[in-house]
């Protein structure tokens, strides 16, 4: 392990941050926001000229073809923005044979809030950048849901027209999935994984920085579809099924192009995680001594690398059909509509696990620490993650039981779908067994983790209904499905994201969050969530289809209840944001290890030193040896590390 290269000297840490600021006009050519700000309009003009120039040279009419321009803009302008920020500087210097600036680690660490707005190669800064960005998109997507529930509070149309409504739910889902859940887990992983495995940073810090900056680009492209004249935002759902996606107004292209940037970001991060986890573990950190969060991200990253290219391909096919007039999905010229669904779900079912497995990891960490017990059945927990990873690729067509695909595919896909319940069940039962004879501390992260276990079980069980073909034929495309995915993605993913944010908040910010507000946030979320989403099961089975702007009057009462509860659920986010912002500025200073956890990230200061560990830790045991007096996970020479404690209160001698 070539870790010593990065070992900082005390003087280096005190060194002024980054290269000396440029002066005068040179500020315009140096990497940073100023350069990005003039690169953007320049690239926009160049892209426009490129399209108009080549169209006029080829004699195509009209010269101003918005679809083609959107594709050119959404490819060229973001690249120029990244180049302006300095995202490619090092590689371009290297490629062109110019001397690269030696890596002086000046980009590491954040001293002021401004450092979070720069290209920074420190995984801890990037982790925070990820989390703050994704929370911004979470709030935006949540507000869209509030508009949606306002419209659905009563039958009939009140506030928006049907096209706007279709845009609301399409944008809500796309932002929540591609700009919140997936990258929020990437952000938590980014911060925590190198610390947990005893590494000074990620394997590819520059790639890491680049993958973060692709994310706001993806989000802004999607949101800017509201600016496309005629037709507004993309409105074919986050699944963007053809032929509707091909027929829709030009805003739909913004979804197709936004997904490319979000997908590229995901793939780059996942490669980085994989290489980091495989090659940069501290001495003694065998695979069987890795914390389960690391295992979970190992499985997730494998899924991302293998599956994400499929969603990229599916959206490129639609773009080609629209812009290049290919016929992938035009049945009149030999295209195949159902083929789209196969390609899309070959990514998007594994994507469900991409959005779940990191949460499983967080739950394992949090439950073990706050129950003061080893994770029950550690090896089976890790193996069940791998089982889900493999099985996850064999179930995609369960989204298509009524699609009109070859009928014989249904039964095999039903069997694999139901079998996934087995490794998932192992995980749930093991979490429960971890609680058994523990000493439970109900801090906010623990509340969210326990909330996750119970809510995710409901989501998993409603998945059994949808996995059974005859029941799915009735329940497919109804509000039952809406209830199911929210129990999985809200009750599952979001609860664990909250658990993770509260759990590592002291580590990231060096301050404690307010426990009381955290608990209020949890209970508002838990109650609001259940009153919002549980009745949807019933409404759906009774006959209310999903993705409708209006519904039969008989569902009016329940929809009103759901809407009111959803507003309370939305309000809970204000408590969360207030707690985070105020605690970050003024919360009590956090100790290194407020939870007395054994894993490595808690053995260093809060926030950790710039290069995480002043020397390489030596891992000597399991990360979860709670209850064994004196047991350690790792030794950091010269520094005390947390040890397991006595299981019985009598044995302890209070000093």
């Amino acid at each position: 392990m070539a870790v010593d290269v990065h070992a900082p000297q005390a003087a280096e840490r005190e060194a002024p941050h980054g290269p000396a600021p440029r002066k005068g006009l040179k500020r315009l050519t140096g990497a940073g926001w100023l350069r990005a700000l003039w690169f953007i309009p320049l690239a926009w003009v160049l892209a426009t000229l490129l399209v108009i120039g080549s169209r006029s040279a080829l004699g195509y009419e009209p010269l101003w073809e918005l679809q083609v321009l959107i594709v050119a803009w959404t490819v060229i302008v973001p690249l120029a923005f990244l180049a302006g920020l300095g995202g490619f500087d090092y590689w371009l210097y290297w490629i062109s044979g110019r001397p690269t600036r030696p890596e002086d680690h000046s980009g590491h660490g954040a001293r002021t809030w401004k450092d979070y707005f720069r290209v920074n190669t420190d995984h801890k800064v990037i982790g925070v950048q990820y989390l703050v960005t994704t929370i911004v998109f979470f709030v935006a997507a949540g507000l869209l849901a509030m508009f949606m529930r306002a419209e659905l509070a009563q039958p009939g149309m009140q506030y928006v027209d049907t096209n706007t409504f279709n845009g609301l739910f399409s944008m809500h889902a796309s932002l929540m999935i591609f700009l919140f859940i997936i990258p929020a887990f990437a952000g938590l992983g980014n911060y925590v994984i190198p610390l947990m495995i005893g590494a000074p940073d990620m394997a590819f810090p520059r790639l890491n920085a680049l993958s973060f900056w692709l994310l706001p680009i993806a989000g802004l492209i999607m949101l800017s579809s509201y600016l496309v004249p005629e037709g507004g935002a993309f409105a074919a759902g986050w699944t963007n099924y053809v032929p509707l996606a091909v027929n829709q107004a030009d805003g739909n292209l913004m979804f197709q192009m936004g997904v490319q940037w979000a997908g590229a970001s995901s793939i780059m991060t996942a490669l980085n995680f994989l290489v980091t986890i495989i090659t940069m573990r501290a001495p003694g950190m065998t695979f069987w001594r890795m914390p389960l969060l690391v295992w979970a991200n190992f499985a997730t990253s494998t899924l991302v690398v293998l599956a994400t290219p499929f969603v990229a391909g599916s959206q490129f096919f639609i773009m080609f059909d629209r812009v290049l007039h290919t016929n992938f999905f035009n049945p009149e010229l030999g295209g195949d509509i159902i083929a789209y669904q196969h390609i899309f779900w070959f990514y998007s079912h594994p994507a469900v696990y991409i959005m779940m497995l990191p949460g499983f990891g967080i739950a394992s960490e949090v439950i073990s620490v706050f129950a003061r017990k080893p994770v029950f059945g550690y090896r089976l927990m890790a193996l069940s993650l791998m089982a889900i990873l493999i099985l996850g690729f064999s179930v995609w067509a369960h989204h298509m039981f009524v699609s009109g695909m070859q009928p014989w595919i249904r039964v095999p896909m039903m069997v694999t779908t139901l079998v996934i319940a087995v490794p998932t069940g192992i995980k749930v039962f093991s979490w429960l067994a971890t609680l058994w004879e523990g000493r439970l501390h109900f801090k906010t992260p623990m509340l969210f983790a326990l909330g996750f276990v119970s809510m995710f079980v409901i989501g998993g069980l409603s998945g059994i209904y949808l996995g059974s073909v005859p029941v799915d034929i009735h329940a497919s495309d109804t509000y039952f499905v809406v209830a199911h995915i929210h129990y999985v993605l809200f009750g599952g993913s979001l609860f664990t994201i909250f658990a993770g944010i509260y759990y590592w908040f002291p580590k990231m910010t060096g301050r404690m969050y307010n426990e009381k507000l955290g608990k209020i946030h949890f209970w508002m979320t838990f109650v609001g969530f259940n009153v919002t989403f549980f009745p949807m099961h019933w409404v759906g089975l009774q006959g209310m289809p999903r993705r409708v702007a209006d519904y039969a009057p008989e569902f009016g009462t329940w929809n009103l209840v759901i809407s009111i509860a959803s507003f309370a659920l939305g309000a809970s986010t204000i408590v969360f944001l207030y707690n985070m912002l105020v605690s970050w500025r003024r919360g009590p200073v956090a100790p290194a290890n407020p939870w007395h956890a054994l894993t490595l990230e808690w053995q260093v200061s809060s926030p950790p030193p710039i290069f995480n560990f002043d020397e390489i830790p030596q891992v000597v045991g399991s990360p979860y040896e709670y209850g064994t007096r004196g047991a350690r996970h790792a030794i950091l020479n010269g520094k005390p590390t947390e040890t397991g404690r006595a299981p019985e209160p009598m044995e302890i001698i209070h000093s």
Binding site: N163, Y378, V422, S468, P470, S476, T628
Partner: protein, 330 residues
């Protein structure tokens, strides 16, 4: 503890069974689907009760006292337990899979004496064609509402003219997407008389929420009478038939005082057709995009009325609307 969980689960399952989760069962297939649904429900409620019971018990029993700084017991696992909670779910899901597979085969079993109805979908309307019922001019009977005799199996041959749609009658439990370029099939044997909604469940654009029709199930005699009536209507026109047609086909979306209809989706016809001439009314029916009433969206009203109504029917409808809105007087 697990036993308590199972007991609580059993009690909850009994309660769950009394909640009317599913709408009326009005087809043979509904009975089959519902039995699978209830088996899954009972298993799931028991499993949930075990999980919730164990969590609640643990939260109550193993709560750390304030200021506690000890650890729990160093239990790392228990091979026996792990085998149990791998095997039991495996057995349960295998059982559900086998039962579901058998039920699926039963639900899709197509008796030899079935009737075929072609279902054509488009933005945002359903058209039903009966290939074995001939009307005026040797054409097959084509309607905008689905009318069927009770207790006869029907195979629906479903297709789409444009984007994806999905054919669903909740009371029948069967659903099938409509895909342009291919014909998809589903089988239903209605067992109850009455009127049920036909709902599109696949997002199809602006008018997805209002893409509805209805299925009317009649006794065999009533059905024969209905067929004769359709043949007569196809031959004749007239304002009287126009009034019937309006109530059945247009009233769910439009207000018209004369017909007593209250639909809110489209414009109020008492207002927008006031003083309109026959030409405008005819155009508005067969080509609704030609002129859009202020405050309403293009592309919501189906454009297939020129096909599902015969020439005499269209004329009868226009005649009736002229009378009802006072346009004919001028």
């Amino acid at each position: 503890m697990t036993l308590v969980g199972v007991a609580v689960g059993a009690a909850l399952a009994v309660i769950a069974v009394f909640i009317p989760w599913l709408p009326d069962a009005a087809s043979e297939q509904a009975g089959i689907v519902d039995s699978v649904y209830w088996v899954v429900t009972i298993i799931c409620v028991v499993v949930f009760a075990v999980v919730a019971g164990v969590s609640a018990y643990a939260v109550y029993k193993f709560r750390a006292p304030p200021g506690d700084s000890d650890d729990g017991s160093p239990i790392h696992g228990h091979t026996g337990l792990e085998i149990v909670w791998t095997l039991i779910p495996t057995i349960l899901v295998t059982g559900i899979a086998v039962y579901s597979g058998v039920a699926l085969a039963q639900a899709e079993d197509l008796p030899a004496d079935h009737r075929t109805v072609e279902v054509t979908s488009e933005q945002f309307a359903w058209t039903f064609t009966y290939p074995d019922i001939e009307v005026e001019g040797g054409k097959p009977l084509t309607t905008g509402e689905l009318v069927l005799p009770v207790d006869q199996a029907v195979q629906f041959e479903i297709t789409s003219k444009d984007v994806l749609h999905s054919f669903w009658v909740p009371e029948w439990r069967m659903k099938q997407d409509a895909v342009k370029g291919i014909t998809t099939r589903t089988t239903v044997t209605p067992t109850k008389l009455g009127t049920f909604p036909v709902i599109c469940t696949e997002l199809c654009g602006l008018g997805h929420a209002i893409m509805r029709s209805q299925a009317r199930i009649l006794s065999p005699n009533e059905f024969e009478a209905w067929v004769e009536e359709q043949r007569r209507l196809a031959r004749e026109g007239g304002a009287v038939q126009g009034a019937d047609l309006f109530a059945a086909q247009c009233g769910s979306c439009h207000v018209l005082a004369d017909a007593g209809t209250l639909g809110q989706v489209g414009p109020n016809l008492d207002e927008v057709l006031q003083g309109a001439d026959a030409e405008f009314i005819m155009e508005s029916i067969v080509d609704p995009s030609a002129q859009i009433a202020e405050g309403y969206q293009d592309g919501v009203m189906p454009s297939n009325y020129g096909e599902i109504f015969t020439e005499p029917q269209l004329e009868g409808l226009v005649e009736y609307l002229l009378e009802a809105t006072g346009g004919g007087a001028r």
